[in-house]
């Protein structure tokens, strides 16, 4: 079976699955949450991957690298497109304080704890890989919180705050990945070895130029078809450049989306024109990751356990301090960090991004750690959100 044909069949199966979950009433909300956050697609990918049924084998996976790149570009672009500075500024300062403390502490603790744990145990990750793992672990899935809010018809302050924090750490996560990948890549540019600052500078310039070009051209290209074409064309263009620069695809496309969101164009209209591909691409991402999962040795479980323990600890501590930073009457609960455990598709995208642009022997292991912990964290996070947040905000 050819790569494209396998892909279409997969997406079709996955799509029917997603329609099934939409149409059939599932009494247990946690199953619904697992379906919405995509854990089930990961499982599907794993089932049809080389480990079990081998429908989606290694050769096919390699042939579809361009598509992976487009998926990552689209994710980064959409996150950037929602980052309108004026809209973000409308949120209370307290929200920023909460979100910033939350992500920074989670990141610092994760990095130090993972670094120390792996090095004490004489294990093989380098600093870049640990940092990427820490970033991927620190980001939060806004989908889980959104699904809980929808499921239990929540409209309170806590769910807004958590959604804001999730969106904020998604943005920060992508920026950090861009910085890390720029500083640690091994390309040679203008005879400068490891030209980190230059790579960041070039990436930002390219992303910004693409935004300006979009702004200029969108005056002549107004139909949905034309807008779709413009976004697709510019996105492929800058994603291709990111490959040359060995830069994060997520970062460069984020800059592109961010630029558009803050230029005088109708970002909402653009979003509506391109949103049709958002869900299929997200499903593809999850299936890709699932199919690429490899379990090569029992040691993998050990790494997973270390990561999950560190991640839980980091999120608990960061949540505690973030909650503490709020004014007395705005505080939620000292264990609020548990709510942010669900990592979502972006964390997988970060690892896949790293995997595509850096041929690292251990990116497979990173993928395994993230994918498995994503499923487990989704369940823990759901149970916590259901218990604490729903109880405090439930309206119906």
């Amino acid at each position: 079976m050819t790569a494209l044909l396998s892909l279409v069949l997969l997406v079709f199966i996955a799509y029917l699955g997603s329609i099934f979950f939409q149409k059939v009433k599932i009494s247990k909300p946690w199953i619904k949450c697992l379906a919405c956050t995509g854990s089930l697609y990961l499982l599907l990918g794993y089932l049809i991957g080389p480990n079990l049924f081998n429908v989606f084998n290694k050769e096919i996976s390699q042939q579809l690298n361009v598509l992976y790149a487009l998926v990552l570009g689209w994710i980064g672009f959409l996150i950037g497109l929602q980052a309108n500075v004026k809209s973000i500024k409308r949120f209370q300062k307290e929200y920023f304080r909460f979100a910033t403390i939350n992500i920074i502490i989670a990141l610092v603790i994760s990095f130090i704890a993972l670094y120390q744990s792996f090095h004490l145990l004489d294990r093989f990750f380098n600093e870049t890989e640990i940092f990427i793992l820490a970033i991927a672990g620190a980001v939060t899935s806004p989908i889980m919180i959104a699904v809980i809010s929808r499921e239990y018809k929540l409209s309170g302050r806590v769910s807004y705050l958590l959604q804001f924090a999730a969106a904020f750490d998604n943005m920060l996560g992508i920026i950090l990945v861009g910085l890390v990948m720029s500083y640690t890549n091994d390309i040679s540019f203008l005879n400068i070895y490891n030209p980190g600052v230059l790579i960041i500078f070039v990436s930002i310039i390219i992303g910004t130029i693409a935004s300006y070009l979009f702004c200029l051209l969108s005056r002549d290209m107004k139909t949905d078809q034309e807008i779709f074409l413009l976004v697709l064309g510019l996105l492929l263009f800058i994603v291709g450049i990111a490959f040359y620069l060995k830069q994060s695809l997520l970062f460069i496309s984020f800059v592109f989306g961010f630029g558009i969101a803050n230029l005088p164009v109708n970002a909402k209209k653009i979003y509506l024109s391109i949103q049709q591909v958002e869900r299929p691409l997200y499903i593809l991402l999850l299936i890709f990751v699932g199919a690429n999962l490899k379990f090569e040795s029992k040691e993998y479980w050990f790494y997973l356990a270390v990561f999950m323990a560190v991640n839980l600890f980091a999120k608990m501590i960061s949540g505690y301090f973030a909650n503490f930073s709020m004014s007395q009457n705005s505080r939620i609960h000292k264990t609020i960090g548990m709510a942010n455990l669900s990592m979502g598709g972006l964390s997988l995208a970060i690892i896949l991004d790293f995997h595509l642009t850096n041929v690292s022997g251990y990116s497979q292991l990173l993928l395994f750690i993230l994918a498995v912990s994503l499923v487990i964290n989704d369940i823990i996070s759901f149970k916590y959100l259901e218990k604490k947040i729903v109880q405090s905000e439930i309206k119906v």
Binding site: M1, L5, L190, L217, V239, G240, F243
Partner: protein, 430 residues
């Protein structure tokens, strides 16, 4: 000026990045960036050309020539090969649209005209070019030395190739201009029927020509069996997929354009795996949905939503694949043959229209809708070259491809002209 500046800027960025960071084995990076570059710059060039009343398709093809092996060589043969699945995917999409535009209820009143025009074109163009080629053979230096049976064989192939009309150009221009009306329906129907006719008859024509070209060729029952199984298999698969599409559009409804893109991918891949005809399968799917359900409009809208990037890729690659160097070598002879083909198309079409009792516009100008020539000629040219190695085979191939180059570039311009003249083009911007 803005569009030209942006195009130059994008090309300059690509060139700068490629030359500063190029490493061996970065084909993926190159093909990704080039696809983006092609999508934007081709469309910008097309918008510029619409100001001088040229079709957008011509713009896409011109950009292909500029970026292709004859120009900057960014779209080199390796890249074109790597991205060839996009080209096949686009063809499937185009044929889906073509089938979806063929509603029997709408065209049944033109059935007589369609049959007469189609027959007129096939008979007159084939017979005319066949006779012309044999008659001219004494005056063309490199052909005059050939034996009579070889001249017969090449005349058959050349004349058969000239019948074809590119369904991609036809549907591309109709979509671009949102054209609706009698002339549109007649040209589209004839193009689609002619494509199906040629797909079925070409293997037989090649065998016929080989009687003269290759010693020891005899009629082979296996060929007919293979041909039948190929065509019937394609029709069967088309019917099955047609029902699947109808079911999806009717009951599932969501994300139609993504689903249709998936169907086009399935057709593309299955046709190459099972050695079936991509064109026939896609056209049948379109015809099924349009004529056996009330979902025809959904199909067209769904396909149109995501068709623009694929159209651009298809025609840009077609432009990049045009062998302009061959045109230089046999320019005068090619021009003569192209003009002869046009004249014969006019004659065949006129004759058919007169016999069908058609109105003036169909009699006089509808022939211009059939100038664009399908890429099938390139495949035939390769057969000729393989059949007769050496200078003569190459020269034949050169003439054949050179005439495709001219017809492919002229086809969209002619067709756009008649759609505007007949007031069937609906788009404001043309």
């Amino acid at each position: 000026m803005k569009k030209i500046s942006i195009s130059i800027l994008l090309i300059a960025i690509f060139y700068g990045i490629k030359s500063s960071f190029y490493q061996e084995g970065e084909l993926m990076a190159e093909s990704t960036i080039l696809t983006g570059l092609v999508l934007i710059t081709a469309y910008l060039l097309a918008l510029i050309l619409t100001k001088i009343k040229l079709p957008k398709l011509t713009g896409y093809m011109i950009l292909g020539i500029i970026l292709g092996p004859m120009g900057f060589n960014f779209l080199n043969y390796e890249i074109l090969e790597k991205l060839s699945f996009l080209e096949r995917l686009a063809l499937s999409f185009i044929a889906l649209t073509a089938g979806g535009e063929l509603k029997y209820e709408r065209i049944k009143k033109f059935t007589k005209s369609i049959i007469y025009l189609l027959s007129g074109q096939i008979i007159v163009v084939f017979a005319g070019l066949f006779v012309l080629f044999i008659g001219l053979s004494k005056y063309i230096p490199f052909i005059s030395r050939l034996e009579d049976n070889l001249i017969m064989g090449f005349s058959i192939l050349f004349a058969a190739t000239a019948i074809s009309t590119s369904p991609a150009v036809t549907i591309g221009i109709i979509t671009e201009l949102r054209s609706k009306g009698k002339l549109t329906d007649i040209v589209l129907s004839i193009t689609v029927l002619k494509s199906i006719f040629l797909v079925i008859t070409f293997p037989l024509i090649i065998t016929w020509a080989k009687f003269y070209l290759v010693e020891g060729t005899s009629f082979n029952a296996e060929l007919v069996k293979d041909l039948l199984s190929q065509i019937l298999g394609s029709i069967g698969l088309g019917v099955f997929l047609g029902f699947l599409v109808i079911w999806y559009l009717k009951y599932i409804k969501v994300e139609r354009s993504i689903f249709l893109l998936g169907v086009a991918i399935v057709i593309t891949e299955l046709s190459s795996m099972l050695n079936m005809e991509i064109l026939v399968i896609s056209i049948i799917v379109g015809i099924m949905v349009e004529n056996f359900s009330d979902q025809g409009e959904s199909l067209i809208v769904g396909v149109e939503k995501s068709s623009l990037p694929l159209y651009i890729i298809f025609f840009c690659f077609a432009g990049a694949g045009l062998h302009l160097e061959t045109l230089r070598q046999v320019f005068v002879l090619t021009i003569f043959l192209v003009i002869s083909r046009m004249a014969l198309k006019f004659a065949g079409n006129y004759l058919g229209a007169v016999l069908a009792g058609e109105e003036k516009i169909i009699k006089n100008i509808s022939w211009m809708g059939f100038i664009g020539q399908a890429g099938i000629a390139v495949g035939l040219a390769t057969i000729i070259e393989n059949t007769l190695p050496g200078a003569i085979g190459s020269q034949f191939k050169t003439i054949l491809i050179a005439s495709v180059v001219i017809n492919e570039l002229m086809g969209p311009i002619f067709f756009k002209y008649i759609l505007i003249k007949s007031r069937e083009a609906q788009t404001e911007r043309y």
